[in-house]
Symmetry: C2
Subunit: 394 residues, 2 copies
């Protein structure tokens, strides 16, 4: 396996900036600052300590605090300027009235510090602009997502090499993390949130699959302590209980998400039945997505399918703990546009990648479900995490 480090090609960056331009103009901005590394990486090719200044006229400027040499090697941008403090950008600014900043993530104090430099400007949130662009994946991005999916498939194939009676959930998590890292998995998953941290070791067995937590997920897991109250726990895995492995992969900054079911000895019948319903929902929703059904409708349609199959109580959580999404876009962030969710209403389009995850929860008994990362193409869909979907018994 090769471990070539891939830089973002110049044509790729140029095309992204070209697509950004009309959005900046439409928002009547005199300039826009991208401070969040996910977004300035997308627009510049580097995640060095920097931020990008996009102007309606003239080339964008990448201001770099550290480390200049790497930023210059990684980014094909022409204008890369070293700075020590924010104040150093002053000479590069024209007269500004309406200024874009990533107000959904930039801390209040940082925005105020910037305003001090910029003067009395109106701040406009520009995170929706890059989120809009990032919905559509280019062939370059798809090639990286395919590699991430190949790593993910290998990890799920390897679970039977490690899983055995008495192994703790977190121990399996560590073993998979170890194996995945050897394949190029970057370890950290990225989400846009002040308090929620994504993690890879979401491994739930038996009753821990029915424990909810702070995360917006049908199944939070027990976790390791009140300070890490999600995901795999010290619980030992037993024969005859459902074992849900939901292990995200990141590769060259791109994520894929996948879930498969395992059991030691045998899988209890209700979970087999529920799992088959989840698979059925997945394919029926994908078919409807291809026909152009909108995301809110896809979500409601999936609920109806679960109810019709007799699993309305269990689908996407139970009781007061149901979640309102069935899928999430995926790319440089683990969860990004589009969302297949109650409150999102648009068609899914070719070039979009998303994770679809119909899951069922049974109080005190456990959880089951499937998840795949899918690419929509003109006239069809392609499951990138295309590993066998059968329940694996070890």
């Amino acid at each position: 396996m090769s471990h070539r480090i891939r830089h973002t090609p110049k044509a790729e960056i140029e095309s992204r900036l070209e697509r950004l331009k009309p959005l900046v103009e439409k928002a009547s901005l005199d300039g826009a600052f991208f401070h969040y590394k996910i977004d300035y990486f997308y627009l510049s090719g580097t995640m060095q300590d920097a931020f990008l200044y996009v102007r309606p006229e003239g080339e964008p400027i990448l201001f770099v605090r550290r480390e200049l040499g790497r930023a210059q090697r990684e980014s094909p941008l022409e204008e890369i300027v070293p700075i020590k403090t924010f104040r150093d950008i002053k000479p590069f600014l024209g007269p500004l009235k309406r200024v874009g900043m990533q107000l959904d993530v930039v801390p209040y104090a940082m925005a105020m510090k910037f305003r001090e430099i910029l003067g009395d400007v109106t701040l406009v949130d520009v995170s929706p602009l890059t989120q809009q662009l990032r919905k559509y994946k280019s062939p370059f991005e798809i090639s990286i997502l395919e590699r991430a999916a190949a790593i993910s498939n290998q990890v799920y194939d390897a679970v039977p090499d490690f899983l055995r009676e008495g192994l703790r959930e977190i121990e399996l998590g560590g073993m998979l993390e170890n194996f995945a890292k050897s394949l190029g998995h970057e370890g950290l998953l990225r989400v846009r949130s002040l308090n929620y941290e994504a993690y890879t070791w979401h491994i739930l067995s038996g009753r821990t699959g029915s424990i909810v937590s702070q995360s917006d997920s049908p199944m939070g897991g027990l976790g390791l302590s009140p300070a890490f109250p999600v995901g795999a726990s010290m619980k030992k895995m037993k024969r005859g209980e459902p074992i849900l492995v939901d292990f995200g992969i990141s590769y060259h900054g791109y994520h894929v998400d996948q879930t498969r079911m395992y059991a030691i000895g045998h899988m209890p019948e209700p979970f087999v039945k529920a799992y088959n319903v989840c698979r059925d929902i997945q394919y029926r929703v994908l078919d409807k997505a291809l026909e152009g059904m909108r995301t809110a409708d896809l979500f409601m349609y999936s609920k109806q399918l679960a109810e019709d199959a007799g699993f309305g109580e269990n689908y996407l959580g139970y009781g007061l703990h149901k979640v309102n999404f069935l899928g999430h876009g995926i790319g440089l962030e683990l969860a990004e546009l589009p969302f297949i969710a109650r409150t999102h209403d648009y068609p899914l389009e070719a070039g979009m990648t998303f994770a679809i995850e119909p899951k069922m929860v049974f109080p005190n008994m456990g959880a089951c479900g499937i998840e795949n990362t899918v690419l929509l193409e003109p006239g069809g869909y392609r499951i990138l995490t295309n590993r066998d979907e059968q329940i694996t018994i070890v």
Copy 2:
């Protein structure tokens, strides 16, 4: 080994809130909101999706979005109120003029949303208040830090079980992560930053030890891609090069930081010499800290020691890439108050825990150094990461 999950005792929470009260009064606040989970965990005992409202009069209120049952079990607070949106807090508020929020981390958009609910209030940053409290560790916190340090010591002891010629840096990282998780390590390290993510696998061998990156560290490492440009890389480790292992541990939310040096076959002589100087600097600085020398002076004193030993060029980075700190407080965050740094000026006091990390970088050759997590006690210091400090040759 027991895996008992420890909740924060009621007396502990009460004492923290008691110490917070005069700080809130001194700041003339009509109320303060703690939205960042590190800080509301410290004040409430839970990291569920919530935030804490502290009033000058009356008990603090923990507003919980998800999950109420766990928050109630984990937190000894009396007033725990479920909410669906921010708006639901309105009936619980008195008349407010000066309101505390964690402006260093709360996103601008979130602060504005809050202001909409609170009316025309003056926002004051209250992060310095909890940072001030958190500098001093209680016996309960120290008992958790000791456990974290015991895990860390075991991990460093285990390196020779894994390290061999031709192993990639990231593979060693995965193996240590796997082993550490089986001991209770929680995997994610926490830092207060929009863009910098901490990670455990900071393993650098030979020339990768001299590669700098976006991180404020003498040695950034090569990392895995432009999207993860720090820490361990795919480089294979060779005989006769310095191998620096800097693998942070988190346990029940508390971190320890440690660095030890390894080599396959033999360690080149310049690195042996430089390493011994680092150890000497560590102990001399700790002695001066006990005598009451202030942090900025400790930093400058350590620079002088490095220069006197002939390593001024290499100490804490080389050329333009030197860093301006020798140590960082450690606890619920990997880096918190106090800092042994050029721009911090106060004495270190009993009850404080910090990591001290004298390190040397040699361009194109590599890096070496030591790091320990230390507790200051009345009249002495205790190295929590008290594993053997000799260079380990495998």
